[in-house]
Symmetry: C2
Subunit: 267 residues, 2 copies
Amino acid sequence: MATSPLPPPPDTAAPDVGTQAVFENTAPAFSPLYQQIKTLILRSLQAGEWKPGDMIPSEFDLAARFRVSQGTVRKAIDELATDNLLVRRQGKGTFVATHAEAHTQYRFLRLLPDLGTLEDQGRAERQIIECRRLRAPAEVARQLALRTGDAVLQVKRVLAFGGTPAIVEELWLPGGPFKGLTLETLSDDQGPMYALFETQFGVRMVRAVEKIKAVSADEDAAALLEVSAGSPLLSVERLAFTYNDEPMELRRGLYRTDARHYRNELS
Amino acid sequence: MATSPLPPPPDTAAPDVGTQAVFENTAPAFSPLYQQIKTLILRSLQAGEWKPGDMIPSEFDLAARFRVSQGTVRKAIDELATDNLLVRRQGKGTFVATHAEAHTQYRFLRLLPDLGTLEDQGRAERQIIECRRLRAPAEVARQLALRTGDAVLQVKRVLAFGGTPAIVEELWLPGGPFKGLTLETLSDDQGPMYALFETQFGVRMVRAVEKIKAVSADEDAAALLEVSAGSPLLSVERLAFTYNDEPMELRRGLYRTDARHYRNELS
DNA sequence: CAGTGGTCTAGACCACACT
DNA sequence: GTGTGGTCTAGACCACTGC
């Protein structure tokens, strides 16, 4: 239990765990060991020590590294797995979750066809309308935790299924982390946009919040979605976050729901 | 570890656990012990052995009853707690979840004001429009797993906040479990409808699925919601389930979203 | 104080994947 | 077979609640 074959040398640098909470120095707030371990793993994820798709060290190795029992590491990993930050695969190992895998693709897309195979009626056909670099309007800046006027990227695109347009959306991305993103980058890419963000910009979207309203189609949206102006559309405003609850994308979408619906599970 | 002070006598009746899976007699499907315990607890919940709000036996007692270790019971309860079927309270015990508590009220209602205190701007003002007993239309029957023509209850009501109507909805309930439900029962009651269902009919809603669309207000809805005909409204169709994934309520709602929005978290 | 859930450990063994 | 995650146990101790 005492050896520590990984980065932190045997008796220093590694968080030293006595019998109970370690960082209980100042605040009287009690923090369980497994929570601290969870934080340390999270930190390694943020720092990019393990990238999306990578296998992280085994529970035993991590236990040695952090000087705790395997069961404690297990509980930390369990929680990270239920948060969809890690994926466990029995017999293989534990991996950093990614949007690039078939089974987790379009994890955030809740628009489904009313009828037929929920699975897939054709891949989504994507078309980028424009990609501009500009200064953040006040409201966009506020939501992305930037200052008004900071550089941002604005992307507009249309998604269609089986030739019928279904979604028109506008994305706002902070200019810093997404430096170098162009219309060509986006257009050339196949696969989910969040997968591109991971591989090209090292940004992994972890969770998101959506605000949904019913609105009437304006002229522009009506034309792009091939409906008549004034038709009811679903307005979906999404704020997506990366590891440290940092907002990293603001997305405003209009969904056609005449033959599809937004599905949500409550529990 | 061997005593069994609860209902099942010492050496019989209680599921007998050797070293591994118990019910592994016919199917080669492997089922972990804690999963079997989870099923047994679930069965007791369905049978009404413990009712919403009740405290269930301690982990130790359950461990003795099922002849497994306390840690195994713990894992079973953990999962039931994350499914919101049970609620753990340190120092006190583990309780059957209920819709009747302040902190879990309106757990399934996702409509929030765009501005101001998310907490509450006044209680919801509810008004029952009608409550009829009739024969299930085909589509309603299908969704509630009944036969077309079976007895069902149809309830219509309006919800308002601060004097402004926000939701008009129509509920369909199976006639059997809800025998005796009348307009008076519903109107007299304060508090969430799902709480009433628990206390009066022993029906606890556990989870639900919603299908959301944008639609135009027809004359009736427009009048009730005090908007002009043709205004965009959010159509929310909810199918709610009780313990055994039995569908128990079909609800079709129209939401005004001019000053409110449907909030959803993705992860 | 006793009773409850919460944390942590150590070790044994099972199931699964790869080589 | 070896290495990984998954299950189960037994026991010790901590934290919170209420008598």
